[in-house]
Subunit: 316 residues, 2 copies
Amino acid sequence: MKPKFAIGVDLGATTVKTGLVSSSGKILYQNKLPTNGHLGPSAVIQQIELSVRDAMVHADGKKPAGIGIGAPGVVDDEGVVKWPPNMKRWNEVPLAREVKKIFRRYQIKVENDANAAAIAESKFGAGRKFPDFLFVIWGTGVGGGIILDHKIYRGPSGGAGEIGHISINYEGPKCNCGNYGCVESYVGQRYLSQRTAERLKDQPESMIAQLVGGDFTKLEPMYIAQAAQQGDRLAREMLAEAATLLGVALAGVMNTMDLRVSIIGGGISAAGGFVLQAVEESVRSRVLTPLRRDIKVLQAQLGNNAGILGAAGLVL
Amino acid sequence: MKPKFAIGVDLGATTVKTGLVSSSGKILYQNKLPTNGHLGPSAVIQQIELSVRDAMVHADGKKPAGIGIGAPGVVDDEGVVKWPPNMKRWNEVPLAREVKKIFRRYQIKVENDANAAAIAESKFGAGRKFPDFLFVIWGTGVGGGIILDHKIYRGPSGGAGEIGHISINYEGPKCNCGNYGCVESYVGQRYLSQRTAERLKDQPESMIAQLVGGDFTKLEPMYIAQAAQQGDRLAREMLAEAATLLGVALAGVMNTMDLRVSIIGGGISAAGGFVLQAVEESVRSRVLTPLRRDIKVLQAQLGNNAGILGAAGLVL
C-alpha cells in the first residue's frame, strides 16, 4: 500500500520545523528545534536528524513516502544547498546526500524554501485550481517561485523565481545585490518601514505613531496595515504605494512568461485583502491587453505551514 | 525515408517570404510576395498558398516534412493567430486550420514570429550550444522568445517572450500598451532615433548630423552605429545608454528565470559588437551573484533568414 504521509522539513535561518504530512496536506504532527546555523553544516544536519527521528516516533511505525526538505539558498538538481544566508561555514553542502546517509531507507528531496512554499500552495493551497502561477513571498524581502503546469519551474540551476531583484527604476537606489532600484528595495519590510518612519516625521498625527507608542524603531508593516484598516491616510498611502510598485515588477513577469495569476504570501500579504487588491489593480493596469482580463492576485492560504507542507509535497 | 527538407513561411506585415529549408538549416530556395494585409485574412491566406505552391515547384516532386508558418501576433496552441498588428479585419484567424484545408497532405504548424526566430537561432544559429536562452529582437520594437531545454517556452496561451513591455522605470513615460517606462519606449528604434534627434540640436557637430545630411527625420540607429564606430561621442553615448537600459530589463528576466544567455537579433543588434558588449556589461553588473560569471550576450546569426528557418524548424 502506498504511504499516505511524508515528512516535511522546513529548514529556516533560526528554526527547523518538521512535520508529518498526510497526502491531502494535513499536518498530523509537528515539532520545532533551533537550526544552530552558527555552528556550521554538521550541527545543522544533526538538528535535521533529531527533528526527523522525533517526527517518525509519531508515525506509529508506518513508513513515510520520504523526507522532503525546504532550505534557504540556491538548491541544485542534486540537492546541493549553496550559499544560504545566515548559515556559518556553509558554501555548498550536498544536503540530500548527507541526509540520505542517515536515513538510507528513505527517498530524500531538497528544494529551495520559496519553491517549496510555491509547491505547497500549488498542491494544497490557493494554487490548486491554477496550473500556472507566480508565487510571491512578500515579507522581509521579496522572493518567489514559479509553477508551470502544476510543477515547479526551477530553471537550469535551481535559481528561478528570484523576482525581488527585478529593477523597477534603473535610476533607483543601489541594492546590496549590485543592481539599482530593485523592487525589494522599495517594498521589502525593512525599506517600507524606513520610508514610513521618515514620512511620520511630517505627519506625527498618523495612527501609526500611536500604534508603535512613538517608537519608530518598532515600526512593522503589521502596524501600518492596522492603521490602514482604520482609515489612517498615511498608512493607506504607504501600502497602496508599495502594492503599486510590487505590481510593476509582477506585470513584467506576467508579460514575459505569459502568466495571469500571482499568489502572495509572507508577512505583508497578511495585511489584508485591501493590499492585494491594490497589487492586482496595478498588475492589471500594466500588463499587455491579452492578459488583462484574466489577471488575478490572490492571498496564499497556508501561512507559516507552507514550508513544511511544500517540503513534504516534494515526496508525496 | 524521412524528408530532408521543409517549407518555412515568414508571414510579415508587408511581405510573405517562403523557403525550402534543409534539415541542416540551409535555404535551398526562397521567394517573396506582398502580404496584402490591407485586404483582409483571406487575401493573406491566398498569398501564403501562392508562395507555398511556388516553393513546392522547386522541391523536385519530393514531399516536404511539412509547412511551418511564423506569424505576427499571439499564436495559440491550435494555430489560431490573434490580433496581429497591421493586418486589416484580422482578430482571431485559425490559420493552421485554414492552411490545412489547402494543403491536406501536409503537417502544418504555426508559431509567433519572434518565437520562430528564437527556434531558428536554437536549431541553426547562435543558440545551438545553449539549451536555455532568451532571444531578443531589438529593432522597431523590443520582443523576444524563450528557449528552455532546446524547446520554445510558449506559456499557457502562447504569449510568452513579450519582454518589450517590462517597465524599467515605474515613473517613466506612458507607453501605448498602458504601462509606464517600458524598455521598448527607451530603446526601440523610433524612440532611440527621437531622443538622438533631440540631443543633436545641442550637438550639431556630431557626425550623425552629417550622415543624415542634416535631415533628422531620416535618423535611424544604423547611422548612429556608423558614427559610433568612427568614434563620434554623441553616437557612442546614445548606444551605450540604450544598451545599458536594455540590460536592465534582461537582468530581471535572467534573475526570474535563472537564465544566463541572451541572443540578440533585429536591426539595432546589427550595429556591431560594441553595442552587444555594452548590453552584456549591463546585464552582468545587475544580475544576482550566482548568475554573474556565466552571463553572455551574443549576436543572433541568422539575420533576416531567421523567420523562414524558424518556421521550417517547427516541422523539421
